[in-house]
Amino acid sequence: MAFYGFFIGLRLPESIVRGMRGEKRLARNGDMLVIMQSKKVLGIEGTAWSLSAAIVGHDRVYAEAGHPYVPETGGIHPMAAAQHHASHIAPIIRQVLDSGVGFDGVAFSRGPGLGPCLRTVATAARALALAYDVPLIGVNHCVAHIEVGRWQTGCHDPVVLYVSGANSQVIAFRRGRYRVFGETLDIGIGNALDKFGRHLGLQHPGGPKIEALAREGKSYIKMPYVVKGMDLSFSGMMSAAKEAAATHSKEDVCFSLQENAFAMLVEVTERALAHTGKDEVLIGGGVGANGRLQAMLDAMCKDRGAKFYAPPRKFFGDNGSMIAYTGLIQLEHGMTLDIADSAVLPNYRTDDVVIPWL
């Protein structure tokens, strides 16, 4: 008969651990079923607009609290965002601590991001790690988007389309790291959409409002489509969209802008699939929540015999859970930081991080 027990801190062979994804950490051990009381990590995200903290284990998100920065006018002002984070970080950490869930490490978004925001979050993380006497873990924000997606969808070794405000990258694992195969040469697609939203007089963030307007659009207005190998450029397209807005309906311009920009993103994703020979595609980052972009990626994958994965909606935008989860797997691989070496890295690159778990 099966025997159920809790083993705290038990280390399973790598082959067993790797096979475990999803709800419970169940491992078959001869006739015995072992439920592991896995570790948990408290993670804090605060690279730009999002300020969010969470406690996460392998099985689920135990607690999460957030307080996003919403600019009164225009886009994100780095100092104002940092000031916002400084004012709200204590209450949101208090909220997750009040859940009563314990944790074995404190993770923070170390970069890339806005320097003042990163420093605010890092200061809080260091204080927490010292107060609770647990390891401090510095997490790369882009890697966290990938890992939370792998965790939530169960895909294994995907080509990742990572599309957020500042980032538009096609990433895939090769030789120990997530490599950037292609990226924007000028602005991130999210920032491009937000800027165009402001041009139309829409409130920040513009992306979801543009998506809604685009659904009503019918005729495609020709715009520059710039793909160079696996790299992209959006600036010419943005100028054309602003010009078109003077003479065409909002709906048609939004429709054309989305069709044009997303086709570029899907095309470079397909190139990366062909180049790497992989057969999974994962989408992540705030713009990834866009239904039209997801439908296009899904169509491309179906045509190529690849599988398309999208995490639940709440994991697209920047969130504390993705930092906590990535911190958790880093903790299990000994990737922790001494306080003295924990300076933030505003230009932290995806491929700066050695990935030992894939």
Partner: protein, 194 residues
């Protein structure tokens, strides 16, 4: 025989190849048709411009709406036969191409064919017009990466390439080759090098 890339299907016949850009269901038809026909015409134009600049390329027999009919260059891929001497000759060809304001965009040793003692460049599907240092640097960087990842004596091959490139494009070669080194040291590419 048929080869399927990310955007085109290439059918090989004894006397010609037909490269057809296939429709993509994820794009709206208007955009899809525009891109496929624009790119087909651009590729034909770049191939003939490269020929005029002194780079052996397949002869384009016919430009259809979404397809190019071209000469089948029956030889051995550079990947299998490369020597420092041939790499120097590749350097001369790339120097001429860049001097003409063109970027190949996919300079791998599979995209060069040796027929007799002539090196042909093929697959201009990712080519574009660009006279900037950065574009030229990335073009050469791609070639170097192929050498590093698949050829033992890549250092001699890279040196020979640089020699040929300098000979064909003396006015810009040093700046381009310096930029190639900078590109290698950038985070993005640094870790690509084994």
């Amino acid at each position: 025989m048929e080869k399927r890339g990310a955007e085109a299907v290439v059918e090989l016949f004894p006397d010609r190849v037909i490269k057809t850009r296939v429709p993509k269901s994820y794009r709206i038809p208007e955009l899809d048709e525009r891109l496929r026909s624009e790119r087909t015409r651009a590729e034909a134009k770049i191939i003939s411009e490269a020929r005029r600049a002194g780079i052996p390329t397949p002869i384009v027999y016919d430009v259809r709406q979404y397809a190019l009919v071209m000469e089948f260059v029956d030889g051995r891929p550079m990947k299998e036969v490369i020597t420092p001497e041939l790499s120097r000759a590749v350097g001369v060809l790339v120097g001429r191409l860049h001097k003409a304001g063109l970027i190949h965009g996919d300079l791998t040793t599979s995209n060069m064919i040796l027929r007799g003692d002539v090196i042909y460049m093929i697959d201009f599907g990712l080519s574009f017009w660009d006279g900037t240092l950065e574009a030229r640097g990335v073009d050469v960087h791609v070639y170097y990466q192929t050498l590093i990842s698949s050829h033992e004596d890549h250092e001699a091959l890279m040196d020979a390439f640089a020699e040929g490139y300098r000979a064909a494009f003396p006015e810009a070669a040093d700046d381009v080759l310096r930029r190639v080194k900078e590109i290698e040291y950038r985070g993005r590419y640094k870790t690509e090098t084994p």
